[in-house]
Assembly symmetry: C2
Homo-oligomer: 371 residues x 2
Amino acid sequence: MPHGTAPLETGEARDAPRDDLSSEVTPGAGTVAASAEELGRPATIRDVAALARVSHQTVHRFLQGYEGIRPTTRERVVEALAALEYRPNLTARSLTTGRSMRIGALTHELDQFGPSKIIQGAAQAARDAGYVLDILSLDMGDPEEIDQALQTVTQHDLAGVLALASTDHMAQAFGAANFRVPAFLAGEEDEFASHHPSQLTTVGFPALIDHLAELGHQRLLHVAGPTAWSAARNRARAFETAVAAHGLVSVGVVHGDWTARSGYEAISALPARLDFTAVVVANDQMALGALLALRERGVRVPEDVSITGVDDIPDAAYFSPPLTTLRVDFVAQGRRAVEHLLARIAQREPADDEALISRLVVRRSTGTVAP
Amino acid sequence: MPHGTAPLETGEARDAPRDDLSSEVTPGAGTVAASAEELGRPATIRDVAALARVSHQTVHRFLQGYEGIRPTTRERVVEALAALEYRPNLTARSLTTGRSMRIGALTHELDQFGPSKIIQGAAQAARDAGYVLDILSLDMGDPEEIDQALQTVTQHDLAGVLALASTDHMAQAFGAANFRVPAFLAGEEDEFASHHPSQLTTVGFPALIDHLAELGHQRLLHVAGPTAWSAARNRARAFETAVAAHGLVSVGVVHGDWTARSGYEAISALPARLDFTAVVVANDQMALGALLALRERGVRVPEDVSITGVDDIPDAAYFSPPLTTLRVDFVAQGRRAVEHLLARIAQREPADDEALISRLVVRRSTGTVAP
DNA sequence: GCGCCAAATGTGACCGGTCACAATGCTCTG
DNA sequence: CAGAGCATTGTGACCGGTCACATTTGGCGC
């Protein structure tokens, strides 16, 4: 208790000298705590008010950044706040305002690279804005669980709700729910429905197909993600479009479920005679499986067949061979989702989206077509 | 408004017939809402009480599962709850009890497989217990950010705090913080300090080294994780111990940072002449990098050198060649952490830990030593 | 020195559960 | 049938901010 208490004690002596005697009769009672330890519990604005000899409302005003407080008063409040180590109680604040500093995040497949990166970006952006992310990890497929999770959400009065990683299941459950608070569906949206093609579609895939065309490839296979994911549909469409634009040939589209296993199986299931020279896989993990399947078939990459991924997961640079792929900025996606949600919460227009760059990363899994 | 309102209206007529006239004079005032729509806002326990013609306390008791409520009373409450679609307001509850149904989770490196899986398990266990996980993703290394995050945590009065993924930085920040609520440090603890060896140490590594010994390997290299991670230290120690127990030789320990890149660089940096026949890598991603580095040196796996990982990430089965590794159940780790924390919150002993199985998964990256 | 007005500050209720305590009602004994 | 005694239900305050409104204070012109 250094300088902080000094002005108080002199102040007390000045303002209320008549009470000094009676306060000596009942030493503790009526005494205001002058330090956090003395209080033994978190300080409230009333504790602070008592110490600063102002009303709780004045303390409140100070905390709200209200300017019209006399400098002398302000000083006492500042000192009291510091002396009592005041921390606002967000729960109490939420109760009256009906809003909290928490954002609910519905997610699933958290172990997937994309979703976990999106969460990372979202958590970061939320924290920067003073919010916390409440994670609700769902097992899509169990409708009861979804229902239960949505109930939980409504009880926790959140500032807003975010759905990360967008499958149709999620979109559907999300659309059906009435959150009573702002909500935002993140991840790659369905470009077909929204007419908002991403850079991945407008820049990434064209660059990728361009790259393959320059290497002499003409017949391409696409290994797509599960159709329930809008991201998978976007990528498949982007592939088809880019191929058509270059006058190349798509020999077909086979579907996986994003896992390396499914990529492996997709390639293994192909007939013995391959009628393509390059495989465009919708994500890096499936590409990994495809690499192994090709190797086991005795197909050399890139000498016989070139292969490409999407995402550019950190491991992709160390596949055998290192994978040519399209980089996707998932962290930015998560961040952007939170920004949109915050804008909706504040009822303002969202800041202009930073363009989600999608860059072609050329490595050794692509090469010229054997003559 | 089907059968739900009927008993009420007859009841009103019976109990308070004298009020009927006056209530016709002021139609709306004093009328109790009989349905959620009529209310226009979330129903409170007092709304329910009014509709059920009981005190708010009786409703409260019912919600708490109190048995001593007369069946007739109980029935009215049940109906009122349903008619008004009552949802408890957890914020208000938190304010009085000082506890919430939310668990703070401090984490970092969310993009790593282990941490993200642990989060997944924790989120799942939390939800099953009716809790929500508040994620605070930290960038260790920025002490100010850690400090700020801890402040955030204390303002959000949480039921407990969990630290997931344990580096020394995290453990230190965690230990220094005064959360005023139960806290639990999850992930692999420092076995050296705690004397609680995990199955990974007692079963996993011995089995792994056993496997290599049977294949004829005698000289082993260890690629460890960053020393700031207790998991890395545990694994390195487990390696040394198991090697010594088998009378094999450890030719050295090199350190990476869990990434494939670091595994690649660790192997690339070795002198031209390799004096080992097997590499035990502390996680699968570094093993991936090591695989590529060996291939580029012209070393065949497993013919010339065997290689093993730890974690058994889904991709490991599709490396070239598929990786022999130790499976680690991260989801269970996260779940267990939450269970321990919940036990601490409830001030009871934690349920017996389900043993975290650690199983050797033999694939094609290990083979007999060339004669 | 007075009065007026805006600036500065204070008062009390409220958000929606929860708690401690009070007040009924009912059953059963003598 | 009184009254003890438990079972059932009700009352009012409280948690810690926030809000609407009331009150006091200071500065200024006359």
